[in-house]
């Protein structure tokens, strides 16, 4: 059993309430930080822990915090990014729904470290019911004196509230999120200035993912050095993985970074292997935008070493033979899966979610969707396959925000590793009909 720091109490009845959460050691990090540590000491522990942003980018959290500008008389803000929208990712929802106080505790401790007296949790609009759960928990925290004026009798005060979005993937990008929090369209801003200097309403702001903020609590309690002992190299601590697709046990798992991918997929403790006794064909390891890898490359690196669940090991080989840990959205596909059709669902997604600000992304995502539709309709040509490659290469690196890359990478990777499948569809359109596009439900209808 790996160590669990975030969701070890997820099955405790009533853990969503303040009383039960407290009875299981909740809010201890707030007590420790506010009563015995300075804000800088908290930041120092986060730096020592090696914690990296859990939303997908993997940027060192302590470093991000240390960039926060602190001009006199200007308010600073901590904004929690709960806009979780990366296909394949549902860990933040699980954490907030099951243990809402874990996020609130992390928000208080982190806000204290950053000197923020007003913090926001920006949650995707579709998670409205989760926002209700958070609001109920926040009200409990206010009533018990964990939020509001002079927390625990100290000089520190914090107001915390939740804001719901309106349904836009792009608002998971931190500057688009800030625009949305200001009541505007979610168009990403040009950086610099970075939010650490000019963020919410032009004030210094830190935007962190839900899981990142929740991880601050165990770091404060055990100390950064202890936390850094978990994991491998620069991939320290534990990570929530959202596992879905053709596996026996989909769900959210907390793993120690460094777990072999093979163990994660096949052991009974985690995914429990591939459903219906099928073989595995491919895995998207870190949410829809990271490169898809065929079985042989997800289990072992090109050098033949076992692939581990770490930022470095998953990225080993670059994009030629590797991928990324990303948000930890782990989608497993069995031998019957059409890679082309799956890619079509991704590309349709990015076309739908492009904010329309930059031409390469706005136009390119639509073109890619159209071409993939044409191929799936049996009308594709070999030139279309080349055109797909050409378009994705002209989106990457040419947009204000990373949605361009997020849309281009899955196309590039599918072509890199499964080009034969695209070509087979083009050369023999009737073969497309044989592809099993439906799984469980089809069986259900037949039964």
């Amino acid at each position: 059993m790996g160590k669990k720091l975030l969701i070890h109490n997820d099955r405790v009845p009533g853990i969503h309430t303040l009383d039960v959460y407290r009875a299981h050691g909740g809010y201890a990090s707030v007590e420790k930080a506010l009563k015995s540590m300075t804000p800088d000491q908290v930041t120092e522990e986060v730096k020592k822990s090696g914690l990296r942003g859990r939303g997908g980018a993997g940027f060192p959290t302590g470093m991000k915090w240390s960039f926060l500008a602190k001009p006199e008389g200007v308010p600073r803000y901590l904004v929690c990014n709960a806009d979780e929208s990366e296909p394949g990712t549902f860990k933040d929802r699980y954490l907030m729904e099951k243990i809402p106080h874990a996020l609130i505790e992390g928000m208080i401790t982190s806000s204290y470290a950053l000197g923020a007296n007003q913090s926001y949790i920006y949650i995707r609009g579709e998670y409205f019911y989760v926002a209700r759960i958070l609001e109920t928990a926040i009200a409990e925290a206010y009533a018990a004196g964990w939020l509001g004026k002079n927390i625990l009798g100290t000089n520190y005060s914090l107001e915390l509230s939740v804001q719901v979005g309106g349904g836009a993937y792009i608002c998971g990008e931190e500057t688009a999120l800030l625009e949305s929090l200001e009541g505007k369209r979610g168009n990403p801003r040009i950086k610099p200035p970075f939010p650490a200097v000019a963020g919410l309403w032009g004030c210094p702001t830190v935007v962190n993912n839900v899981e990142t903020i929740a991880a601050v609590c165990p770091i404060v309690m055990m100390g950064g050095e202890e936390y850094a002992k978990i994991g491998v190299g620069k991939s320290t601590g534990t990570k929530l993985i959202s596992a879905s697709g053709h596996i026996n046990k989909p769900g959210v798992y907390e793993i120690e970074l460094g777990l072999p991918v093979e163990e994660f997929i096949y052991s009974e403790e985690y995914c429990g292997g591939i459903r219906n006794g099928k073989k595995m064909k491919a895995v998207v390891a870190g949410g829809s935008s990271v490169p898809i890898l065929p079985t042989e490359l997800i289990l072992k690196t090109a050098k033949g070493e076992p692939r581990l669940m770490t930022y470095e090991s998953l990225a080993d080989g670059g994009f030629q033979t590797g991928t990324m840990l990303g948000s930890g959205g782990f989608i497993v596909m069995d031998e019957d899966t059409s890679i082309v059709k799956n890619l079509f669902t991704f590309t349709r997604f990015y076309h739908h979610e492009s904010c329309g600000q930059c031409s390469p992304c706005r136009e390119g995502t639509g073109w890619m969707e159209k071409i993939l539709k044409k191929i799936l309709d049996g009308k594709g040509t070999l030139a279309d396959v080349d055109l797909l490659w050409d378009i994705q290469s002209k989106i990457e690196g040419k947009t204000i925000c990373p949605l361009g890359e997020a849309a281009a990478w899955p196309v590039a990777a599918a072509l890199r590793h499964f080009k034969h499948e695209f070509e087979a569809y083009v050369k023999n359109p009737s073969s497309i009909k044989d592809v099993k596009h439906y799984y469980r439900l089809n069986n259900l209808v037949e039964a």
Binding site: G88, G166, G183, R185, W201, P250, I331
Partner: protein
């Protein structure tokens, strides 16, 4: 778009006079505004639009958007540019229950297309259409964060997960018999996780 949406000013005024938040909704709106610093009330726009949509029949007419602008003391265009950007806001009338079936990767891998096709056949509508009785609107949605419990659909605040055709039957039956508007802001959300 503007002239089509907004019509004549006279017409606007007549219609707008009828649009007013209930006392309860107004309380909620005030609470939302109080979360932001003085002068930053525009930040309340998205949450207030959700309240307005639930309050005024499940969609945002030009008159409703103008009213929201008035409440928040911002320009009408600032409301429209936001309402037209985010997928959760309906700028046209919809049925009492909007069924949003997720169609992205993990849901597709688990049969989302079958769910869509089944509902289309059962309700005799296509994606994007509303049943003649105004009860159901069928939509497809992009990843709603239920990948581990796929396939799923959202209706108002509720997430219906691990869907089967039988579950869809039961849900449609239940919604039809209750016959009320389902909103994202509903308090009686169901979560079948």
């Amino acid at each position: 778009m503007g002239s089509q949406v907004h019509g004549t000013q006279e017409f606007n005024k007549a219609k707008r006079a009828e649009i007013k938040f209930s006392d309860a909704a107004m309380e909620t709106v005030k609470t939302i505004i109080s979360r932001y610093p003085q002068g930053k009330q525009k930040s309340a726009l998205l949450p207030v639009l959700h309240v307005a949509q639930a309050e005024f029949g499940g969609w945002l007419s030009a008159e409703v958007m103008d009213y929201v602008a008035e409440v928040l003391n911002i320009k009408p265009i600032e409301v429209f540019e936001v309402a037209s950007f985010y997928t959760m806001f309906n700028l046209k009338p919809v049925g009492k229950c909007t069924l949003e079936v997720c169609q992205t990767s993990s849901c597709w891998l688990n049969g989302a297309e079958d769910i869509v096709r089944y509902i289309e056949k059962k309700l005799n509508i296509k994606v994007g259409e509303t049943t003649k009785d105004g009860m159901f609107t069928l939509k497809v949605a992009e990843c709603l964060g239920s990948c581990g419990t796929a396939p799923m659909m959202q209706c108002g605040a509720s997430f219906h997960e691990n869907l089967t055709l039988e579950k869809v039957d039961a849900l449609l039956e239940k919604y039809r018999s209750e016959g009320r508007l389902r909103s994202y802001t509903d308090l009686d959300y169901q979560n079948t996780l």
